[in-house]
Amino acid sequence: MNRTSIKNKLILSFLVLILIVVVVVGIANQITNDFITAHAISAALALAAGIIFGGIFSRSIVRRLNSLSSAAKEISRGNLSREIPLLSQDEIRDLEEAFAMMVNDLRDMISEIKRGSSRIEETGGDLSGLIDKVLANSQEIDESALAIAKGSEEQTFIVQKTSLVINKSLEEMDEAARQSAQTVSKANNALVKTETGGANARETLSYLEDVLKQMVENAEPIYRLSNKVEKIKMVMSVMEELSQKTDLLSLNASIEATRAGEMGKGFALVANEIRNMAENSKQSSQEIRRIVDDIFEDNKAVLMSLRKSEDHVAKGREIIHGIVDTFGEMLSGVKDISTEVKKVGDVTRKQAKEMRGLLSQFQELSRLAQENFVSTQRTTIGTKNQKEEIREIVAAMKSLNVLSEKMMETQRRFRLRRD
């Protein structure tokens, strides 16, 4: 649609009025020759035309302005549902369009405010729930922080106690490692002494073998003597039997001589002498037997002693063999012990090193526990502050809710749709 400005309309109306005046003046001049009358008629017609045109024109503008004014009044009452009619094709059209745009903008704005209020309300509700949760969580955090602080305190105490125990253990392990080193040294000394002992035992064994050999060699004459004594005893038995028989014979001879009377007296003397000789012989034999028995007993004792000595030497040899073996086992055992003690020492030192690492870690743990304690204290303070801030947020939220309520109330005044 072609737009015509009010200025052009006014110019066009003026020109039409002038044209009408000209036409009227011409017509009036035709009709009458009277100039005044002609001018009067022309003036009257021109005024009439002016009034008519002016009325039409002004009415048109006023009507539209009234329409706009009425719309503005309704808008001011909150009725944004009214549509602004776009009636004009001139500069008022711009006003109408601007007004319509303003109404639309207002409508959008109010709608936006409404949505915003609703959102604020919803957000307020959500926020309230969240704040409750946050408060509950803060409470839990508070309690947890308290428990952690207590735990950290106990942990610190335990760690310090454990550190003391580890320190003590470390000292003991150091002592054990030192003792292990000393034991290794002593074991080495024992090793040397055991080797010496083993060598001495072997030497003793060799010496004992020589002694045994010598004893066996020395025993040979004694055994021979024993055999000879046995033979002497046999001879002595024969001699004793002989003297006994002689004694018996002389006794019987004496009896026979007695029975012979005077004739047998000489024989009796001889028999008596023979008996005395037999008796002496018997006594000598008995004496010799006693001596031989003594020799035999002594020899027997010597032999027994020799046998015992041989047995003892054999036992001694066995014992020394055992000692040599024992020394060998001891040597092996001492070597094993030395190796084991060395291993134990190494393990103890390694353990001590690891314990030191552990102690360092425990100290780190203690530091961390203390830091935890401090952190939990800070957390407690933080949660306290957080609670304060949440309370402030709650207060702000309440204010926002009040504002939202007010906005809702304000926007309720506006009617956005035509129902």
Partner: protein, 131 residues
């Protein structure tokens, strides 16, 4: 008189030498049952049986030579035969016995009690025999 002297029951006994038949050794003594303890048994010597009497037991003392192999003093008088076991035989010696009534002598420091085979026989006959 010629006197045969022997020791038994801690005493020295003397007996006239003509009673002595012989002295024997290594004689196997055969024990006789139900006899008194002093009766050691019987021996057989040169065709004769002799009773063997332990003088120690007979005199109420310990047995003579309980373990050894003793000399046995063989006695023969009249028709009787007896053998004695003593502790020790001293031998034959001459002792003075003029009146024949002396029963105890001292010889070479020993107190010798004279005894006869009859007296021994008499003691034996008074002993209980049997169970």
């Amino acid at each position: 008189m010629e006197c045969f002297i022997f020791e038994a029951a801690e005493k020295c006994f003397g007996m006239e030498a003509h009673y002595i038949y012989s002295i024997a050794d290594d004689i196997q003594i055969t024990p006789v049952p139900l006899a008194p303890p002093c009766y050691r048994g019987l021996i057989y010597f040169r065709g004769d049986l002799f009773d063997v009497i332990d003088m120690g037991s007979l005199m109420g003392k310990e047995r003579s030579l309980p373990n050894g192999n003793p000399y046995v003093i063989l006695l023969k008088w009249g028709q009787r035969k007896l053998s004695l076991i003593s502790d020790k035989i001293i031998g034959i010696t001459w002792i003075e016995n003029n009146n024949g009534s002396q029963t105890v002598f001292t010889k070479e420091g020993r107190t010798v009690e004279l005894i006869t085979p009859e007296e021994i026989w008499k003691i034996l006959s008074e002993l209980p025999y049997g169970p």
